[in-house]
């Protein structure tokens, strides 16, 4: 008598095993992603390298500090400022340099320690000493002092209301005495969520802070997942592994939200697609050549054809829906090949000229090469030859700092367009002129007036005056504003894309 398995028995067992396994695998998404019903899963394209609230350069990461830290003021998804740890918006002196914040008395850190003025002062001092954007802060912040336990005074060296836009994006209030290096691994904030699990650059799991001073958040658990590929991110949404995605390939946005079970939205955010000229060297030291290029570009085709409507076309830095947009100024550089030819004649180059455009590879947010190729074709139609020089993005930034470029078409995400880009690139007193941009006193004057107040009505005329300078000098080809866009599944409530780009999930719920 023989014992053991013959070949047929082995094959039968293998077949049965495979069938059992296949039956299990068919369970699908719920099986694929073992998370509870009370978890909202959102994925981001950018890295989630650590837990530090301000030491990051990718804007997706901002979703984490929004959930875990508090600030004096926060920026709502629509771009408006609201008090957070402050009881109300600050009192500002007439010259716009002294801000006095009254603090709430019911704010507690996750550790249970009450948040007082000394913590605010310590957080700012630590930031000025070690923060990633400390150079920017040092340039305008003269001092931060505690008047009493619940009053803080911030003194600026010059008016700049836009500094408060920084807070949601680049700050976070810490308990006094916190070790800077410790906050890479631990959350010590006072925000609506606490971190329960963290795998660097893979996943961050959070649970609601029931003692949150603005009321316990409606969603009990949130899971932030890092998915580095846009197509995979979309597939994860379609299979139910995540509920909200940060971005997707632009061509897939409209078809996906047209499908049953999905919703999406896009708004012009604090990002911009533009091509600064190096005005310090030929050929773009000639304003007519700059204008010729600006008038020859078909922005509608770039934004709607190449980027499927996810870049909002605009010939000036302001988006058409914004309070400081100026239609007359925008008309100056509307697509008009005849006007481009006129400027070529004015420049004494009726047959055109050549220049090199430096294009980042790969680009963030949208691929710059696609716009560059269309620009090349538009310019060729009026006799201008645009050569494309592709460059790694970090080398490109070094070239931009060194002024080693002629024209630099690229997408860029900013903390704010009117409060950051306009100041940092073009002001004499604040700017880094990192795009080799010369500055002018009258431009500085207009912006300084705008920065005295954070009231849009008071700011608008001064911002338009500054815009007039940018248009007159034709500093850049402004292509359009990058839209913040998201897709989410049915059942997600209270979610909208944010002006600041990073997801704001504080009020969002999943059912």
């Amino acid at each position: 008598m023989r014992y053991g398995f013959d070949r047929r028995t082995v094959l039968k067992l293998a077949g049965a095993g495979a069938f059992t396994l296949a039956s299990g695998l068919r369970a699908g998404p719920a099986f694929a992603d073992p998370r509870g019903d009370d978890t909202l899963a959102a994925s981001v394209l950018g890295a989630l390298p650590h837990l530090h609230p301000w030491d990051y350069s990718n804007h997706d990461f901002g979703a984490l500090p929004i959930l875990t830290y508090s600030n004096l003021i926060y920026t709502a998804p629509d771009g408006t400022l609201h008090p957070e740890v402050a009881v109300e918006m600050p009192e500002v002196t007439e010259n716009g340099t002294v801000y006095t914040f009254k603090l709430r008395d019911d704010v507690r850190f996750h550790s249970g320690k009450p948040l007082v003025a000394a913590d605010v002062v310590y957080s700012f001092e630590l930031y000025l000493d070690q923060g990633r954007r400390r150079g920017d802060f040092r340039a305008f912040m003269q001092g931060v002092e505690a008047i009493d336990d619940h009053t803080v005074r911030v003194t600026l060296s010059r008016p700049w209301a836009g500094w408060m836009m920084y807070l949601t994006k680049y700050m976070g209030l810490l308990p006094e005495g916190t070790d800077h290096d410790a906050i890479y691994d631990t959350i010590v904030g006072s925000g609506p969520y606490k971190v329960t699990h963290f795998e660097p650059d893979v996943v961050i799991e959070l649970e609601a802070n029931e003692d949150y001073y603005l009321g316990a958040p409606p969603q009990k658990k949130i899971r932030l997942v890092r998915i580095a590929d846009a197509s995979t991110q979309l597939a994860a949404l379609q299979t139910g592994q995540v509920d909200i995605i940060g971005t997707c390939p632009p061509k897939d946005f409209e078809p996906t939200i047209a499908q049953e079970g999905f919703t999406g939205a896009a708004i012009p955010g604090a990002g911009i697609f533009y091509a600064p000229f190096n005005r310090q060297t030929a050929p773009f030291d000639n304003v007519h050549l700059r204008r010729a290029v600006a008038c020859a570009i078909d922005r509608d085709f770039i934004c709607n054809g190449a980027y499927y409507g996810l870049v909002t076309p605009s010939t000036i830095p302001a988006a058409p829906n914004e309070y400081w947009y100026d239609e007359a100024l925008a008309a100056e550089f509307a697509y008009d090949p005849d006007k481009a030819r006129f400027h070529l004649r004015e420049a004494g180059m009726p047959n055109g000229f050549s220049f090199t455009a430096t294009v980042p590879v790969p680009s963030a947010y949208v691929e710059a090469q696609e716009a560059a190729i269309i620009m090349q074709a538009n310019l060729a139609a009026v006799g201008i030859e645009m050569r494309i020089r592709q460059m790694d993005f970090t080398s490109m930034y070094n070239s931009a700092q060194a002024g080693d470029f002629e024209c630099f078409p690229h997408p860029s995400m900013q903390p704010s367009i009117e409060d950051y880009l306009l100041a940092q690139s073009y002001m004499c007193i604040a700017g880094k002129q990192y795009m080799a941009q010369p500055c002018s006193e009258s431009y500085d004057e207009a912006l300084t007036q705008a920065y005295v107040s954070f009231d849009p009505d008071e700011r608008a005329p001064h911002l338009r005056a500054a815009l007039a300078h940018l248009v007159e000098d034709c500093t850049s080809v402004w292509i359009g504003r990058l839209n913040t866009y998201h897709i989410w599944r049915e059942g997600i409530e209270n979610f909208e894309p944010s002006y600041m780009y990073a997801m704001d999930l504080r009020r969002t719920t999943a059912s």
């Binding site: 998404p29 099986f31 992603d33 350069s57 795998e199 597939a235 592994q241 931009a400 940092q424």
Partner: protein
């Protein structure tokens, strides 16, 4: 040769290869365009802050000094600290390598499961339709880019059929069945290309073996054809195939970058990809050095497997 002497030789070779590899990767990274400080600070970085960071990260030191410090630390098991993830490279490798190993092993199993029967059947049916089909499929497998096949599989099996997850990874300690489900599509993606290579290798060597005299003798003695093919011929034909499979496994361990990115698997490949983009020198150097060591060790293991397959081989 004495096995101990052979082992000593291989260890010496491993040391030399690691030294060479460390120099090459160090020099290539430093001469590659890009700047880790700019990658961390962003486009409109402050020059003074950038200078402070370069000094803190030791990037302002002469290259030779930087290399000396890195190698000195590496000899004590310290591969440095990630600029970007703020963690020790060894800790990152320890966390990520098991995932990559699981992916590579599954991919190798997929490759062998396809290649062994396909190669043997193709050789046995040499010149007939089945042989042509197998060679055509092998050619298609070699030619098909990983990223395309991966996306296609996600589209069909995850998005449309909903049979399998689109990506991600679940630890077997949490849910072994979920681990398996998450590995199926990436393993097929990675395994298919190598299956094609192994199939072609095995077919060629089987064709050669099936023409040998001892196979003729076996047939003349009236042995069953199945036994001749699967037992007598296949065993000998597998020796060169093991070399190819060994290389393939080494490549799978070191070359999972695209598959890990597409399937969002948090392994060493994805870590390497991110670290190259952010110019995270310590991590890239550490991973490359680790991969060199793995490759040498896998090939050494292949040499040892030879002796098991063919007792005539001695070292």
């Amino acid at each position: 040769m004495d096995l101990r002497l052979y082992l000593l030789q291989r260890l010496l070779a491993l040391g030399l290869i690691l030294v060479g590899g460390s120099m090459v990767i160090f020099v290539i990274l430093r001469f590659m365009p890009g700047d880790p400080v700019v990658a961390m600070l962003g486009p409109d970085y402050d020059q003074a802050v950038a200078a402070e960071m370069r000094e803190r990260m030791g990037l302002d030191l002469p290259l030779l000094t930087q290399y000396g410090i890195w190698v000195g630390d590496a000899l004590t098991g310290d591969l440095g600290r990630s600029h970007f993830l703020k963690r020790d490279v060894t800790e990152l490798l320890a966390a990520r390598f098991p995932t990559t190993l699981m992916l590579a092993v599954s991919s190798l199993l997929v490759a062998l499961a396809i290649a062994i029967p396909a190669g043997i059947i193709a050789a046995k049916q040499k010149g007939r339709a089945l042989d042509h089909v197998s060679r055509l499929v092998a050619l298609a497998g070699v030619s098909m880019p990983n990223f395309w096949l991966g996306l296609l599989l996600i589209m069909v099996f995850a998005v449309n059929l909903r049979w399998l997850p689109a990506g991600g990874f679940v630890s077997p300690m949490v849910d072994p069945l979920a681990t398996l489900a998450h590995l199926v599509l990436p393993a097929i993606t990675l395994g298919t290309a190598y299956a094609a290579t192994i199939t072609r290798m095995l077919r060629a060597s089987m064709v050669d073996v099936l023409q040998r005299d001892y196979i003729l003798v076996a047939r003349a003695m009236g042995l069953q054809e199945r036994r001749i093919v699967w037992h007598d011929a296949a065993r000998n034909a597998l020796i060169p195939t093991v070399t190819v499979a060994g290389f393939a496994f080494g490549y799978m361990l070191a070359g999972t970058i695209i598959v890990e990115v597409i399937f969002n698997i948090p392994g060493v490949g994805r870590l390497l990809y991110e670290s190259i983009l952010t110019r995270d020198y310590p991590v890239v150097q550490g991973i490359v050095l680790f991969n060199v060591a793995i490759f040498v060790i896998v090939n050494f293991a292949v040499d040892l497997i030879y002796t098991m397959l063919d007792p005539r081989i001695r070292y």
